[in-house]
Symmetry: C2
Subunit: 356 residues, 2 copies
């Protein structure tokens, strides 16, 4: 990577040359063929379609996400590897949220004419890194010209059991979330203020963590597979739009209400400190900032203690009960002693809306 | 559709409202649930991933294409249905070229802020129309904001037998192409000259056909499935970049040379007449114009006569032998009595190159 944009031009290598270099860049990022990769890819890049031999008659999981420059991400020349990792991570998170194992990625990329081959390679190397962590194989794609960067990932995975969907929650079920929420939105706030252009060494550790949580999320694959092993989850999804939006989705799909206790929300000290230093509440980040890529799921209340014991040992990831599902007539509400005099208030689905 | 852009704004319906309207628009385009659709979709739009139950342990085919405004298509308000049909058709063509049946589509669309809901609906209705013709179900997608229109389709299909790939050709095999080649490039030429904005009734029939071949290609699914039934195809792909490029691809993958007889190229009278009226040769359109979405394939020479009889009756589509594969040392050449004094000349792979 060089920041003066003095690398190899796209016209020097042409479309087929670029495809070959990108596949190699992915492999360099992945470092070695992973033993975790799902078997079955008979034919990858280079024909009209990829061919995947389905080993069994199980369930195939498919998710797709389009990321557009200046809408989903800022173009930060220092952060291209992270951009690659994130583009794949958000799709891996979707497969994990169904309780599946990610398998085969199809990448379409729109590249501005002014871009260098090295920039595109850096993005692919980042995807390869993330792929190697979770056993994903690059199986196909498309490489085109565009005015701004556009990355579309379609990821296929396999469900080892009945997929976790959003509609199985029942009144009384505990609502559980992994890790912490709000860090990603806090990190985005720092990026908007220009901190993302600084080198890592110039940032306080708190800020580094928050920015990293935004640019470089970790999909909760291991946690999801532990939940599959444990059993008992009634509904699950990943936190991409924000807790308030996701709770609304689960309630709508499951035909339930919900009550969230805001004092139990898992919020990092770093996010709290940043909010305080900006003189604002941390709750909007935690509830509707989105892009945390944690898991949110429901389990019957009698299952909670065995879940905590099993999962704690298995994953070393924090799992927090933030509320419970209620009868549909109860509405979707939150409580906090300092808000609304401690009385329940409506938890609106204020996730990110592309067309608001 | 109205051309004054006075329809419903995206902000009026929001992201989730738009998704619901687009799914409905697809269904309106499809008119009725097709009985041809492959079974197995357990869960479509509305969760983290789609769930497709794989009925057998067969081969899954996956293809993806990204179409960008002003790169792959011109924004023609009168032609949005055709744009939708084409976006899906080019992917159906890829699945057909492997000898597969198309099944499940995943659509990501980037929509400019100035667009109306009705415009996006029109594109989806076009996709639904094409989907209904070939048994494709809308199974998922992503809807985002972008500066220019971007449409990414990932299409999954099933191979009923060993997929047709590019690498099985052998010296002596006949090279066969369906339909006619060059019409699409001729149609594009008319569009560039502004004829696409006129209403259909104002265009001569020849021109209407050529423009339609460019904007509204028919994927050769029925022809491909007839070839599967007949058997004997050694290599196959679709003509997306142009005959010269595709012959080079097949030769490279199969380790062969080739000789193409240009006098046998199936070129429509309409394309020939337009080329003559422009005072230019029709061969560049036919050889490297691309986007014809015909099938090009190889079969052993002894198979040709039974193929012609069987396919002619089964599909009523023209199949033309345009040359044959040769030993690799012979190179990839073409002959025509009026070119190079009738001596063979090198057939360069001059397909469309995004980054040339």
């Amino acid at each position: 990577m060089n920041e003066g944009n003095k690398g190899t031009s796209l016209s020097e290598v042409g479309e087929f040359g670029l495809i070959a270099r990108l596949a190699a860049a992915w492999q360099r990022g992945a470092q070695k063929p992973s033993e975790k990769n799902l078997p079955g890819l008979r034919l990858g890049i280079g024909d009209d379609a990829a061919v995947i031999r389905m080993q069994t008659g199980g369930d195939l999981l498919v998710t797709t996400d389009m990321l557009v420059e200046d809408v989903h991400f800022l173009w930060l020349p220092r952060r291209l590897r992270q951009l690659g990792r994130k583009a794949l991570a958000v799709n891996i998170s979707d497969i994990a949220a169904m309780g599946g194992k990610p398998g085969w990625a199809f990448l379409s990329i729109g590249v501005p004419a002014k871009a260098t081959v090295e920039e595109v390679e850096e993005i692919y190397a980042g995807m390869g890194e993330m792929a190697a962590r979770h056993g994903v194989t690059l199986a196909g794609g498309d490489t085109v010209r565009a005015d701004k960067w556009v990355i579309n990932v379609t990821l296929l995975g396999l469900a080892g059991q009945e997929p976790f969907i959003r509609s199985g929650g029942r009144p009384g079920d505990a609502i559980v979330v992994t890790g912490t929420v709000g860090d990603s939105a806090a990190g985005l706030q720092l990026l908007f203020s220009g901190e993302g252009d600084k080198s890592e060494d110039d940032l306080p550790e708190d800020w580094r963590m928050l920015i990293s949580r935004h640019l470089d999320p970790t999909p909760r694959v291991k946690e999801a597979l532990a939940l599959v092993e444990l059993g008992g989850v009634t509904a699950m999804m990943d936190v991409s739009d924000g807790i308030s939006s996701e709770v609304n989705h689960i309630c709508k799909a499951s035909g339930c209400g919900a009550r969230i206790d805001l004092t139990t929300l898992p919020i990092s000290l770093a996010a709290q400190r940043l909010a305080e230093s900006c003189g604002r509440s941390v709750f909007p980040w935690a509830l509707s900032g989105g892009e945390d890529y944690e898991l949110i799921f429901t389990v019957p209340p009698e299952k909670v203690s065995s879940l905590m014991a099993f999962i704690g040992e298995k994953t070393r990831t924090a799992f927090t009960v933030i509320g419970h599902l209620t009868e549909p007539g109860d509405g979707i509400t939150a409580v906090h002693p300092d808000i609304n005099d401690g009385a329940p208030f409506n938890l609106a689905a204020k996730g990110y809306n592309h067309f608001a």
